[in-house]
Symmetry: C2
Subunit: 277 residues, 2 copies
């Protein structure tokens, strides 16, 4: 029964929504009896600590090269969003071209970006104990990774992430559209925080199988005008104790304005092979 519940698709939850609140809560709690625990210091009473003890010898055998080769595989049946479109202003276009040149000789990689994270991890799955009811691979639900939630060109997130495997650095070119507004004419602080979290996430994964955000800290300095280019520069500062520590400085195109500084800590956890049909 538990196993069936674990695989109840979101669409089925919608059909069951006529249940009483207590029933609904109970169903959800049963689905996630070991709620994904992201901190070493929090354990539900009666449930064993789920984070595997890793020695440095056993930790994370996948090299950045193998992670990159798996992540950056070309998927001709999926739309890759990191291609210029009519909504890209000159700053976004020109800096994109600069980095495309760097992918030819300077060791940078342009990361693909599909509509859903599920497309990125085909053949892999979240480790048991952390997985959340997401239905089967043939779930009819329209799942989208958050920063691809707005499909209309130029209205939401226009972004590209470039990654340097050797330097363990990323650069994200981010052009916020009018659906990301906070203060009139400016990108909502939360929209930038989400862009940082996503850039940290992809960087952490490729640099060392960082999988879940433990913490995110943002210090805002200046507004990002809607339609302008913000450049997020991410560095991996250190990897220790099963955590990946990163920093980010977000600049204007001409580097005259610092928009924000931030840091992120991610938990290292390898994805598992998915042998389900």
């Amino acid at each position: 029964m538990f196993k069936v519940l674990m695989r109840r698709p979101y669409t089925q939850m919608q059909q069951e929504s006529a249940s009483s609140p207590a029933q609904c809560s109970a169903m959800i709690r049963r689905d996630f009896p070991v709620a994904a625990r992201l901190s070493h210091h929090r354990v539900l009473s009666g449930v064993p600590h789920v984070l595997p003890r890793l020695t440095s010898a056993s930790a994370f055998g996948s090299s950045t090269e193998s992670l990159v080769s798996r992540f950056c595989v070309e998927k001709t049946d999926l739309k890759d969003y990191v291609l210029p479109n009519a909504s890209w202003f000159p700053d976004m276009l020109s800096m994109y071209q600069e980095f495309l040149e760097k992918t030819k000789a300077d060791g940078w990689l342009k990361l693909p970006s599909f509509k859903s994270n599920r497309d990125h991890i085909q053949g892999l799955k979240i480790p048991s104990g952390f997985a959340v009811s997401s239905g089967t691979s043939s779930d009819q639900g329209d799942w989208r990774i958050f920063i691809r939630c707005i499909q209309a060109e130029g209205q939401g997130y226009e972004y590209v992430i470039f990654f340097h495997p050797t330097k363990k650095k990323s650069v994200c070119l981010f052009q916020p559209g009018p659906y990301l507004e906070g203060s009139p004419g400016c990108a909502h602080g939360g929209s930038l925080a989400a862009m940082m979290d996503e850039t940290f996430s992809k960087t952490a994964y490729l640099a060392g199988e960082g999988l879940f955000t433990l913490s995110l800290n943002v210090r805002f300095k200046n507004f990002i005008p809607v339609g302008s280019l913000a450049v997020l520069n991410v560095d991996v500062e250190k990897i220790e104790d099963q955590k990946i520590y990163m920093s980010c400085v977000t600049w204007s195109r001409d580097k005259q304005t610092v928009y924000a500084k931030s840091s992120g800590v991610f938990l290292q956890l390898p994805l598992e092979e998915d042998s389900s049909p």
Copy 2:
């Protein structure tokens, strides 16, 4: 010329996008010669420090009561999104009903939520020196506040914020939809960070004219399953030195799971009367 540039609408920027990158950057930089500075400690060289020196006697004359009465005015020509719809699961519905009861006798207020922050501040404007080119009030652009970017019911942010003026507390009921996904079946960490930023923002404004996010710090503890209810409990911890300090604990409906803990610091700055046509 500066004044004209300050009022160039985003749609005009789109028409001018054929300009060279240097021209575009120059235009944007001219629009915002005094980029909104949010920190006491950062000043562009050659530009005077724009934060007004406030004595405790002159600081922020608007009481919470007057701010609430202005913010919560009924606008019959605008859609208020904080009404139940078919996508609300039982937990969201039941807790919403609980808090509606509290608005009748316990001093809680349900905050309205329109498609754009511009609708919330009609008749007011961002103080000079912080304003960003947003066009005239008759700008044809489709501006949306970020957490209302997804219009389809149940696919993105379903949320309601209740505020208690005397206790200076807020409770946000947040049900994330499948367009907010991060890890399969879970809300993206960035989507929660944005919900926190927005809840802090409305709380800070009503509690003391807090206007801009200075910092946001999030510690993630457990995943929020898509479709479940997350309850954000925000408290104003202190107001000093022109800053509003707030904390937030995000729980599951049954309070058995802490999803995240966060803190936010906002800059106090009163909106100005907008006498433009």
